[in-house]
Symmetry: C2
Amino acid sequence: MNPSEPSVDRPLRIALLGCGVVGTEVARLLTRDADELARRVGLPLELVGIAVRRLDRDRDLDVPAELFTTDALGLVTRGDIDVVVEVIGGIEPARELILAALEAGASVVTANKALVAEDGARLSAAATKAERDLSFEAAVAGAIPIVRPLRESLAGDRVQRVLGIVNGTTNYVLDQMTTLGQGFSEALEEAQRLGYAEADPTADIEGFDAAAKAAILASLAFHTRVSLGDVHREGISDVTAADVRSAAEMGCVVKLLAICERTETSVGARVHPAMIPLEHPLASVRGAYNAVFVESEAAGQLMFYGPGAGGAPTASAILGDVVSVARNRVREIFGPGETTHADLEVIDVGRARTRYHVAIDVQDRAGVLAVIAQEFARFDVSIKNLRQEGHGSDAQLVIVTHEAEDASLAATVEALRGLDIVRDVSSVMRVEGGI
Amino acid sequence: MNPSEPSVDRPLRIALLGCGVVGTEVARLLTRDADELARRVGLPLELVGIAVRRLDRDRDLDVPAELFTTDALGLVTRGDIDVVVEVIGGIEPARELILAALEAGASVVTANKALVAEDGARLSAAATKAERDLSFEAAVAGAIPIVRPLRESLAGDRVQRVLGIVNGTTNYVLDQMTTLGQGFSEALEEAQRLGYAEADPTADIEGFDAAAKAAILASLAFHTRVSLGDVHREGISDVTAADVRSAAEMGCVVKLLAICERTETSVGARVHPAMIPLEHPLASVRGAYNAVFVESEAAGQLMFYGPGAGGAPTASAILGDVVSVARNRVREIFGPGETTHADLEVIDVGRARTRYHVAIDVQDRAGVLAVIAQEFARFDVSIKNLRQEGHGSDAQLVIVTHEAEDASLAATVEALRGLDIVRDVSSVMRVEGGI
């Protein structure tokens, strides 16, 4: 085979699985931009089938009715499909369909973060075996190109850390709490009213969505395998207006961060709310926008910013993948696929090195400070800043620690809670992004 | 050929052309990270030659002395080189060497923005003919992955506009002027003292460097051919402390922007200082950092941020390209190459639609405002904001226009300068980034 000449010279056949908001937009752009896409790929892309759950739904889409089918498996296995686009989401039947599509000779483009995070290794192995491409740029941070930069652009560098704002709903809620001083429930209700949060917001608010993306980011950044179950996860439902005020007082803002880190021999991935300094590039990521901040040994600090969700942005990422894998199909080649070659231990969050912001309500009497300081010292946690504010017979201590193992910090807070002189540990939050 | 199996099973041979700051870093990382890079590529990468101008220079590099040669052409044409890395810069002999390398069967990775901007079409054609890769991620915005995202990730979308801060020297100087209130000369001298500007800073300060990057960005973003000569260019040497203050008064900051725009049938590329609102993501790009802001139809607003220059960041971008083209060499394939398929007219800056900020020193007497307003109306330029400040018998008018053709705006300013009542048009600057 001479790779300079197209090995295929008929239109490439595209099958679309799922036709919700994203799928509709994909179908619309494939149709509207057909000429332009054909020029970019080298051959026309022909949408030959759309698998849906129900045929009788009204769709705002100008494609022939006969394209729709409820037989997704039949569509992907009919034998002449070049590229399958999966936007159903969830584990099954998406997994079964993708595996069947690859086996039947199609390359696959998916936006399915849950599936890639849970079973990426199996999908990749199937793609390699089938000599086809599996692309999932849309699975992380919507339209923001991050999969390709991590997998290819930074392939000659050593990524050390990835900090991501990868969930628009939680960023919108925290942003409202910050700018309007709203409490969590109030901000969430408004987000739901405006369509930034779903009726059941659990997947977003409790960090499940961000955790899936963290697993994918860590796998790509460190060329190893990190699964959803490896990611430590805390959501934002316990973040209070007082936390947000406390953050502001120390020149910080509260964000839900996906954090992926590596040492020489291990990696860690965690999702939790954290305070970051206002000067940090992530601090100015507002509303429903997403951003991924990458610290790499040679490249230094990079940031990728853009809309993290939505029909059109997600469709943009999917179509970028479709063009890439279609170009490969034209020449009957496929990309380098998985770049997983490291086998790094995934460490528990307890061993992550972080810093804590702790607000403690104490009795305002002599010797309190010494007792509190002693607890920190006992767990080998060094205090960086301490601020005391009197409230009648009570006082509040606001402490920011130096970096220490998360487990030591957690144990310190636990011990503080057991002290007689401590009325309440009213706020505990990690501090990230250096200050 | 079965593309799933490596067609090559010996170490891949790398030749390095140039061994200055960037070349030294490339050689250092190729040596230090040899094991890791071999795992990522699938085969070891062996640095087999380094072409330099002088052999007797002291180099802080732990490689065998016999690798160095002054015969660059002999090195790239010896017939067994897989990848040539060109970091000499400038037009010749870089062009001759790259063309010879491709013809001799090597893929080429270059950081040479001047050459790619001036003669990219010829280099690409030579790569296609030779069935080899030509990659130049390091040529634009240093370590920031922008070439691959524009060429691949956004290949299914329609990029409408690119706004870039792509020159670290000018951004550093403008940043100093903004934060310290320094004048241009003072800020430039400090930048030179700290190594952010060269002894002869012309290429940076006058926008030549940014213009080369604008040509490359426009070509990639719009899949057409824009050359250095097509780019309108103005530097920052006329930016005054008063301009910077004026910008601050309207909630803006002055940046040197590379702007690439398209309509249905045409593209434009220009480099000039401009005021952008503080809320714009580009406004917070500080010091020597670079950022590229992309407005795309489906994806929306994206931004790519990172260090724009320096040995290590540039080496990171180069090694990313080396890994990609080496992976292709292993399988004896090559990437899609040029995605230039559009042939869009490049329009003159006069036809670009922009907005102007104009400060006019006038005699403070009745009827002045009417005369000034009449001049704007005569050229069909609509005024958005007008602020008047008295200074004894004089007054200053600060006007921000609505969007109009650049030529009309320029003609308006020219006409204002000819009016008796106008003592001076003390500041003229374009306003970008919407407000």
